[in-house]
């Protein structure tokens, strides 16, 4: 039975942090237009991309996300005037930091999707899902968590095997 479970194709878990005014409405439009996009995406709605603290992205990775999408209004369209401009700088810096620590940036996507762009939402979501599917599960953060709980004993083959089969 276990063997069977392991043969399941990998389905990436992707968390999307979106602003309520543009991208959330865009995703909603995709839904009401009956457009299909991968069910791997879990959407979390925020008042503005400016409210999305980089720590949320980190938290998502730590808690098992294989990929993260952050999306908001196009520049100039922000409901709060400048929230997305500030977010743009913050995320540019955060990407450099993650890259320097050694996180594969292919797992993190930023996009601008307006309330009218249901189609673009579908594209971005599909593309990221496909890319992360190729990359496979994000092991690094999970391994840190596992060491946290198992006192670093993952070095033993038995535990490593048990861990891999989760």
């Amino acid at each position: 039975m276990h063997a069977e479970k392991q043969q399941h194709a990998f389905e990436p878990k992707i968390v999307a942090f979106v602003c309520t005014w543009c991208t959330y409405a865009g995703a909603d439009l995709a839904g009401t237009s009956r457009l299909q996009y991968p069910a791997n995406i879990r959407v979390v709605k925020f008042p503005c991309t400016g409210r999305i603290d980089p720590v949320f992205i980190l938290r998502a990775f730590q808690k098992g996300a294989d990929g993260v999408l952050v999306s908001g209004c196009h520049p100039g369209d922000c409901h709060y005037m400048a929230g997305n401009f500030h977010a743009r700088r913050r995320f540019a810096a955060f990407r450099q930091l993650l890259d320097f620590i050694g996180v594969d940036l292919n797992r993190l996507q930023f996009s601008w999707v307006s309330a009218a762009e249901g189609g673009k939402w579908v594209d971005v979501a599909t593309e990221l899902t496909e890319r992360v599917r190729e990359l496979g599960p994000l092991r690094e953060f999970a391994a840190l968590e596992a060491e946290e709980h198992w006192s670093g004993a993952l070095a033993t083959p038995e535990l490593q095997e048990a861990y891999n089969s989760i």
């Binding site: 938290r59 520049p75 100039g76 620590i101 930023f110 996009s111 060491e147």
Partner: protein, 309 residues
């Protein structure tokens, strides 16, 4: 390899000390400042500790020596309210410390008019593991001083000391940064994972940083908990990412965090990397002049967005 040519003459520090005492006495006597924040000799040879002098006679305790490593700007943050209550303050700063002071002024933590800045022409200070019985030389100098660009502080009220012809120390941090940048992401992850896993979460790095003045740190909050507080791998990784992110564009590069770290984690490499990236992205350099807006508290409509789809 070391010859005397690579050593910095201790007499220079003695001269700076004399000038510093004279200046401190004058500002206390004529009421320019109610207190002078400087350094005094520590109990062990070659060590120094922060001192706050309020009466002119006390100016005799002040010193400047290679052991004066502390960044005193820390004592002017909101977290140190007991110092701020003393009235107008004079503070002794090295060039690198001045960048922190300028940063604090830029962040409205301090008013330039409320402080009197005594700059020190600084040839360098000891590294964290230096044998302090030796003079300052290739083996004993702090990594930050090897690549120092701010030996003479600018924009201060007065400068004491004179700068000698400095020996050319071999740079290390820049080379180490380049080595890391050339690694693959997986190698970098291993590098940092190993370093961070040693962190004991003593938070000395946070306590010593002039820019970590939040009354409640995000990393201490537990409802909801953003960062695990136990000194174990996942929480440590998160702590270091949050620390680097919160200091990006603010860090003055004084390297105090790295100096006080009991686990020898190369924190200043992270600081330097972020400073370098923010300079490349937005042409911003921290703390040379007090600036109202940092790179992450401002924006331009035409900022690079090539990474956004």
């Amino acid at each position: 390899m070391t010859t005397t040519a690579h050593t910095i003459d201790p007499a220079l520090y003695a001269a700076a000390t004399a000038a510093l005492r004279q200046e401190a006495r004058t500002v206390l006597e004529n009421g320019t400042a109610a207190a002078v924040i400087g350094w005094q000799a520590g109990r062990r040879a070659g060590s120094a500790l922060p001192a706050i002098v309020t009466d002119p006679a006390g100016a005799e305790q002040l010193i400047f020596a290679p052991g004066c490593v502390n960044n005193l700007a820390l004592y002017l943050t909101k977290a140190k309210k007991e110092v701020r209550g003393k009235g107008r303050l004079a503070i002794v700063v090295k060039g690198c410390d001045l960048r922190a002071l300028a940063g604090l002024i830029g962040e409205n933590q301090l008013n330039r008019a409320d402080i009197y800045i005594i700059g020190i022409a600084c040839p360098g200070v000891y590294g964290a593991h230096a044998d302090r019985r030796l003079p300052l030389a290739e083996e004993t100098v702090a990594p930050k001083c090897r690549e120092c660009t701010v030996h003479t502080p600018t924009g201060v009220d007065v400068t004491v000391g004179t700068l000698p012809d400095l020996p050319a120390f071999t740079p290390r941090e820049a080379a180490e940064l380049a080595r890391l940048e050339a690694m693959t992401p997986a190698e970098r992850w291993r590098f940092w994972k190993e370093h961070f896993s040693r962190c004991i979460r003593c938070y000395a790095c946070r306590q010593v940083c002039p820019f970590c003045y939040c009354e409640q740190c995000l990393c201490d909050r537990n409802r909801p908990q953003a960062v695990e507080t136990t000194p174990r791998p996942a929480g440590n990784m998160a702590w270091h990412i949050v620390r680097a992110m919160h200091l990006a564009g603010r860090c003055a590069g004084c390297a105090e965090c790295e100096r006080v770290c009991p686990m020898d984690i190369p924190l200043n490499l992270l600081n330097r990397k972020m400073a370098k990236e923010l300079k490349a992205l937005y042409g911003f350099e921290a703390g040379l002049e007090p600036q109202e807006k940092g790179p992450l508290t401002s924006y331009r409509e035409d900022d690079d967005q090539s990474f956004i789809k």
